[in-house]
Symmetry: C2
Subunit: 206 residues, 2 copies
DNA sequence: ATCTATTTGCGATAATTTGCACTTAAGCCC
DNA sequence: GGGCTTAAGTGCAAATTATCGCAAATAGAT
């Protein structure tokens, strides 16, 4: 089991496994198989078994996987057993939608504060948050030791804010701005750009 | 050039190239190199050259790539020279943010109509759209020959709506619901689930 | 006109990732 | 208990993907 380094592509699939397992659990199922999980996700059963074998042995031959147990193991591996406090920067329409989204907590994340630099927005209320002045962001991150941030700002502002976040010690950034960020190697970045996905699909649509 | 089949992973990078080129163009640059583009995106120059070589020869040795020309070629390859009409289903906070986002048109997509099944929302106005009854969705898609849809609905509703979309002839679905859809092989699906990205990052954050 | 700097495109090679197929273990039925 | 069925875990082969390194082309300098 547990080789020294796990390929990133494998790590990237674990959240999908966890999500599918949570759905199954919500349906009251207790046991599943790599086959069933694979069909649900459009992934081969062999790949799922191989992926999981990187971390240990979680199944029972002839039976399959206990859904609750495997989900628990994946949460441990992905380190989402405890809540991560997340800073949200940018309160436009998108930031507002993110702030109001109630699907984070169940899956390991809690928005701890929201920031904007627009004086018209600072102090206003968004969902259960009071919008804080961007000027406070860096000290807040340092003091509360926040390690994860979501960036819902215009592309033109993203790099400079990212630089601030990095300076303040952030370790992971989920960037909704349609641009690529330059960050030090030790900082994780992931992107969400709907147009990238759309363009990838239209290549295939006749 | 142009081998019969281009790996999906290559197609998936083209939108990133196009996005970076558009940024450069906005900065007034005219020429770039695979090296420069790669540094901007965190991708090796060799990979960019290899990817592009799948489709033709777009650069000039010793000089690099004309940004405008290459962007034009990528738009052609990705088939986003002309606008795609997109149906948006689900007008919660997220749907509202999507409906108000003004970044689609420049990159090849226009939201043509928004749908919801909640009587309290039908008829109301969201940005420049009037929310239409979900009951109209299938006939609208057929009549207007809409081929792309965005799904911003709860996970519990996503599969059933996806089935309707497929029945109506949709060919590409961008799913914001945190669930996996089952669709026929000829239908493209892409997913946006922020938590998947977050969980992928926390694996690495110490 | 020649020399030097670049930088592309691409065949060859290396690394990674996936899938196959087999062994082993577990549950179930009789 | 024995036989049958199911399904995990895994070594190995195959397929895919990324990188290397170089010939050829181009621009610019001298």
């Amino acid at each position: 089991m547990a080789s020294l380094i796990v390929p990133d592509i494998v790590v990237g699939r674990l959240p999908l496994y966890l999500r599918a397992l949570s759905e199954m659990m919500a349906e009251g199922k207790e046991i599943t198989s790599s086959q069933e999980l694979g069909e649900h996700l459009g992934i081969s059963s062999a790949q799922i078994r191989k992926d999981l074998s990187q971390f240990g042995e979680f199944g029972k031959q002839g039976t399959g996987y206990n859904i609750g147990f495997l989900a628990e193991q994946l949460r441990r591996i992905l380190r989402v057993e405890e809540l991560w406090e997340v800073a949200l920067v940018g309160i436009g329409d998108l930031g507002r939608a993110i702030a109001n989204y109630d699907g984070f907590v169940d899956r390991g994340f809690r928005i701890s504060a929201v920031y904007d630099s627009d004086p018209a927005k600072i102090g206003s209320t968004v969902g259960k948050f009071k919008v804080l002045d961007y000027a406070r962001l860096m000290t807040d991150i340092r003091q509360k030791e926040i390690r994860v941030a979501m960036l819902a700002v215009p592309a033109s502002a993203a790099q400079s804010i990212s630089d601030d976040l990095v300076k303040a010690g952030i370790q992971a950034i989920l960037c909704y701005a349609p641009t690529s960020l330059t960050v030090p190697e030790h900082v994780q970045v992931q992107y969400i750009d709907p147009v990238v996905h759309l363009q990838r699909m239209t290549y295939y649509v006749h």
